[in-house]
Symmetry: C2
Subunit: 407 residues, 2 copies
């Protein structure tokens, strides 16, 4: 007996991560991993970070190592604000930005701030696994909303909100994880209008929008509906190991978020904040991001081509950016079985179940699986897809009707 | 209107931090700050951290910047385990350690894992403000427990547990923040025995024990009662800005803690973890810690002497280590008034109110205030105490009866 004190009920809502289990075996020799959502390690800017760390600790070591404020480094927040202005003409003040330990912590803080037991949380089907996990700890009532190739099914969202009342609406509008979909401008406008009339609060999670390979940037939902909580991250454009993300929110929400952040961990690592800021100021960031886009875009093309050639029975929507392809198996095949067989053939992928709301999980998700293309070479991608296509799934590898996915 | 979605009720439990307000003015020119709990910036090992960062990013940059595991870096956990063995003969495996964003996050994760609404949380009067804030978000029932110069009043704890039932018992047994008290060995044994018979779960928060100026190390409560959750931190011996702390727990609690950590922020900054580990391996740590002990010990002595000479009306227990002196004003004086007058005289300190459980706050705490001695020079300490002694508090500066504090 470790302790006689029982765990809180909320902990039962946290499922062990299937991705986590799969990731445990991805460093096996010969394994090709399409499982995680990791950047290509060869594109992590270690030399420039090293130079930045050296300058920060030489010039400003005491402040980089001392306690700091819960809001995060002002100059880093100002840098983020300026980038919103430059990219979207979006007017965001540094005071409306809170630096978090990656955007995963942003989700936790938002859950703490807004979720009572049974507060509705509207999630697309499928949705980001980490958001389901973060919010689940606050025991909300998850409500599923349809997802089209053009993003959120806003008709379904409207009907759901009419039935279930105000709550959080969580969405990844650009290159959704896992589905790869992007909500088009008309969809964003409908979401903004719905929020205005129904009182749902959009949580706009945007870790991927800098990784667009084709098509044009769309305005954030926050530009159309300013109360929207907008989340960003340096994990995909600089380095996930530094755990630096942020929330954009208005003054009243921000005041509360800062208090909750302070109670949760005082403040975000200021050493990493200062090193990152120095990196951002000194590096040619446009060139760095262009390099990421080119490499990941090539990888996406290689994966799309390999699927079309070797595994035509699988359906998918081609994402315009990000890190993932979301695939639908032919009728009769199981993604859980696929994942198990794939591991035996030294390919890791994530079956769809965990991306669906608890309760709807396995059934809805078992037709789907997620492939990551940012952490493999073009050759590995081709080899991996060939291996998958050759697995004995017990269904014919016939060309699928490549119509729009509709979950 | 920022949003029509109301805040969760738990947020009302989070009080704005009085310390935070006071800290805002501590960088005013001429201000002597006894307010925060910050290490002396001149003792932060910036050059050695710089060398460590350089080596890590040269040798191991990709892993330092990539996603990592929720448990934290294995080798850092092994280092911590070895130090417990060396210091206390305490057998702790690396697998029983979770790396957190400072020990403040450890408190939040423990709250998430164990606290239902109205679960009893036993807290000494006074107790660490950050623990009150972290736990408050889970809406527990706080129960106050007396504190002696020799630590927790275990008779009071036993009676309280008999009345209120099992729950968490939170304590800082070494150089308590704010009271400076250390729970003696007999007290630790009584706490262990109580935990064994009543089912309370001790949360042993130990950020300061490496900063002992005199007297001898005592075994952790965990050595006497293994289910105890033991918290540690690198903030006081290396650098708070890196936000690195840990929890020691048994396998079942650890499995759950890791799931909760993953939901809360995926994992702790691995860049900082690797740099810290490299620092710990390369620096002469005993010498570094001896330097901290010598400096802070000198500061404590200077503050104790100055209080005895210039302000004999104030009562306090001399702490054997740590960073704080906890002082009691003569009858009729108010610590809130003292804090306000002190700021006008360019001295910052923290009145006692926030260190008491909400509801008992202002009344119980207004006789007390906390002085930090780690972030000032000996000269500043003397000057600051003279300024405080000269404030027009409306009570005589007569020598106090220096008997043991009993809150």
């Amino acid at each position: 007996m470790e302790t006689t004190l029982p765990f809180a009920e909320r902990v039962n809502a946290v499922r062990g991560s299937r991705i986590r289990e799969i990731l445990k075996v991805t460093d096996r020799p010969g394994m090709i991993s399409f499982a995680g959502g990791m950047p290509d390690p060869r594109l992590l800017p270690a030399p420039a970070i090293r130079a930045a760390a050296d300058r920060v600790l030489t010039r400003d070591g005491e402040a980089a190592l001392q306690y700091s404020i819960s809001e995060g480094l002002y100059d880093l927040r100002a840098w983020i604000a300026e980038r919103y202005r430059a990219r979207f003409g979006l007017n965001v003040s540094p005071a409306s930005i809170l630096i978090t330990n990656g955007s995963q912590q942003a989700l936790d803080l938002i859950g703490k701030l807004f979720l009572e037991k049974n507060t509705p949380v509207y999630l697309e089907r499928p949705s980001y696994l980490g958001a389901i996990q973060a919010f689940a700890l606050y025991e909300p009532r998850f409500v599923g909303v349809g997802l089209h190739a053009a993003g959120t099914d806003t008709d379904d969202l409207r009907r759901s909100v009419q039935r279930n009342g105000p709550g959080l609406f969580y969405s990844v509008p650009n290159f959704q994880n896992p589905a790869g979909t992007t909500t088009d401008l008309a969809g964003r406008e409908r979401i903004a209008a719905l929020a205005r009339t129904t009182g749902i609060l959009p949580v706009e999670d945007d870790p991927y929008s800098e990784l667009r390979f084709n098509g044009r940037d769309l305005p954030p939902i926050r530009a159309l509906y300013p109360p929207t909580l907008l989340l960003g991250s340096f994990s995909k454009i600089v380095a996930p190991g530094m755990r630096l993300g942020w929330i954009v929110a208005g003054p009243e929400v921000m005041r509360r978020l800062v208090a909750v952040k302070q109670a949760s961990d005082l403040h975000t690592n200021v050493f990493a904040q200062k090193v990152l800021l120095e990196f951002l100021r000194e590096v040619d960031l446009e060139r760095h991001i262009a390099g990421l886009r080119a490499a990941y875009g090539r990888n996406r093309d290689a994966m799309v081509d390999a699927l079309r050639v070797f595994w035509p029975a699988v359906r998918f929507v081609v994402p315009e950016g990000g890190m993932f392809l979301w695939c639908e198996l032919p009728p009769g095949a199981s993604a859980e079985e696929l994942a198990t067989l794939a591991l035996e053939a030294n390919v890791a992928l994530v079956p769809g179940g965990p991306f669906f709301i608890p309760g709807l999980g396995a059934d809805a998700g078992d037709r789907f699986f997620r492939l990551n293309f940012s952490n493999s070479t073009v050759d590995e991608i081709k080899t991996g897809i060939r291996r998958l296509a050759a697995l004995p799934l017990g269904v014919a590898n016939e060309r699928a009707n490549n119509s729009i996915l509709h979950v």
